[in-house]
């Protein structure tokens, strides 16, 4: 027997799918800006493990010499990013959706169990409502990272007018690095997120579009959203 559950409210779906292209533009234009001064790398002793970024990477993406263009995009889409983020957080508070997103004391233990399960080291998935512990931690962190990007962003955008903020974040240079690291975090999140969405399957994916997920109730191992309706 199949059952249809209402999983994602319309507002959440809008926020999610608006955020996707907006964040994409922010990362892309951020890359155009970063290119003009790109000192960051991961080094072990004298050995450079990873350089941000190799010339071939820039060339492949047509990044070089587009600083002005990057700034123009960045400084327009930042408003959309902030507005969408603000409305999202506001909505989750008013609707009560935040209860599904904010990790609680069980989330961390649950997250470890979920990770073991995902890696094939554990047979069963711990029970959960809507989001498991690992998801809660990931989605909540990404929201906090969004706040972090806005704060570090303003610290480097207006380091004089918001001098208190820039100082709080360790200075202009530090804030620029923090802003960059957060962006690397989004990219890593993106890859894990895509991987997990593919693993969870079509029904789960389309629920982020339509809001509904079809669940076969004889399924011995419900993927998601059992008790949520």
């Amino acid at each position: 027997m199949k059952r249809i559950v209402h999983k994602h409210p319309l507002a959440i779906r809008w926020f999610h799918w608006i955020n996707f292209p907006v964040l994409f533009v922010m990362i892309w234009s951020g890359l155009l800006i970063y290119w003009a001064y790109d000192p960051y790398k991961i080094q072990i002793g004298d050995y450079t493990l990873l350089s941000f970024f190799p010339d071939g990477f820039y060339k492949f993406l047509h990044v070089p010499r587009r600083l002005a263009e990057g700034m123009a995009w960045h400084w327009v889409f930042m408003w959309l990013f902030m507005l969408n983020g603000l409305l999202y957080v506001g909505y989750t508070f008013i609707s009560g959706e935040w209860r599904h997103l904010v990790p609680n004391r069980n989330s961390f233990r649950e997250a470890i169990q979920v990770t073991l399960y995902d890696l094939g080291l554990r047979k069963t998935q711990p029970p959960f409502i809507k989001y498991n512990g690992a998801q809660k931690i990931a989605y909540f962190s990404i929201m906090l990272m969004g706040v972090g990007s806005v704060l570090t962003g303003f610290a480097i955008y207006k380091p004089t007018q918001f001098a208190w903020l820039t100082s709080l974040l360790g200075g202009y240079k530090a804030a620029r690095l923090e802003h960059f690291v957060l962006t690397v975090g989004y990219v890593l999140f993106f890859f894990v997120h895509i991987g997990q969405v593919i693993r969870a399957g079509w029904q789960n994916f389309q629920s982020m579009v339509t809001g509904f997920e079809v669940i076969k109730s004889h399924d011995p191992e419900p993927p998601h959203a059992w008790a949520y309706g």
């Binding site: 970063y34 003009a36 700034m71 400084w75 380091p159 007018q161 001098a163």
Partner: protein, 208 residues
């Protein structure tokens, strides 16, 4: 972008000062990053030309001694390039606001600038190198900022040619691109003066 400028200006305040550092924090060798407008030798008869807005008035022709006669201020701050790098540097010179007050410039009435009487102020200050190879426009609020200097010293020494000798603009509330070297001419306008990097696609305001 112009909307961003409006937003930025509502929050801009002369009481928001650029963070300053101790003199010993300043780079011993300040970075040089651009030669537009200073590719020819410094003119031997260099004078600072200041245009009087009314066409009939002769421009002021000032020497470096005239600028040095004004109260000297030093600032050690983090110079920020639009490319993203920054460096703590130590500059010395006269406040642009003192200069405008002393020579009664930047206003339509011909009096010294009175920040309370914004209608009397021109909206922009334009600056150009003697060869007109580099040029910037600065909004009057930023020009009157107390940390904006007509600088003639770097690390306590006269500015060298690559840094913009004999006199350059140091405007900490803007990216480096607005810190014009080797000032040849200063003028005032209500329309935006032409700006080298704005013509090349950059934001005009670039306020920090």
């Amino acid at each position: 972008m112009n909307a961003n400028e409006q937003v930025a200006k509502t929050y801009f305040s002369n009481t928001h000062l650029v963070r300053t550092f101790a003199v010993e924090d300043a780079a011993k060798k300040a970075r040089v990053n651009g030669y537009d407008g200073i590719k020819t030798p410094i003119p031997e008869d260099w004078k600072l030309q200041v245009d009087h807005p009314s066409e009939t008035d002769q421009p002021l022709m000032l020497t470096i001694e005239d600028i040095k006669a004004l109260p000297k201020h030093e600032i050690v701050y983090e110079f920020k390039c639009i490319e993203g790098w920054s460096q703590v540097q130590h500059w010395g010179g006269a406040r642009l606001s003192d200069f405008l007050a002393n020579y009664k410039l930047g206003t339509k009435s011909g009096n010294g600038p009175n920040p309370a009487n914004t209608n009397d102020l021109y909206k922009y200050v334009g600056l150009e190198t003697p060869d007109e190879g580099y040029y910037v426009g600065i909004d009057m609020e930023s020009a009157l900022h107390p940390q904006t200097l007509l600088a003639y010293e770097l690390n306590g020494q006269p500015i060298t040619a690559p840094h913009g000798a004999p006199l350059r603009l140091i405007i900490p509330v803007k990216y480096g691109v607005k810190n014009l070297k080797r000032i040849g001419r200063i003028f005032f306008a209500d329309e935006r003066p032409r700006d080298f990097w704005a013509e090349r696609g950059y934001d005009y305001y670039v306020g920090l």
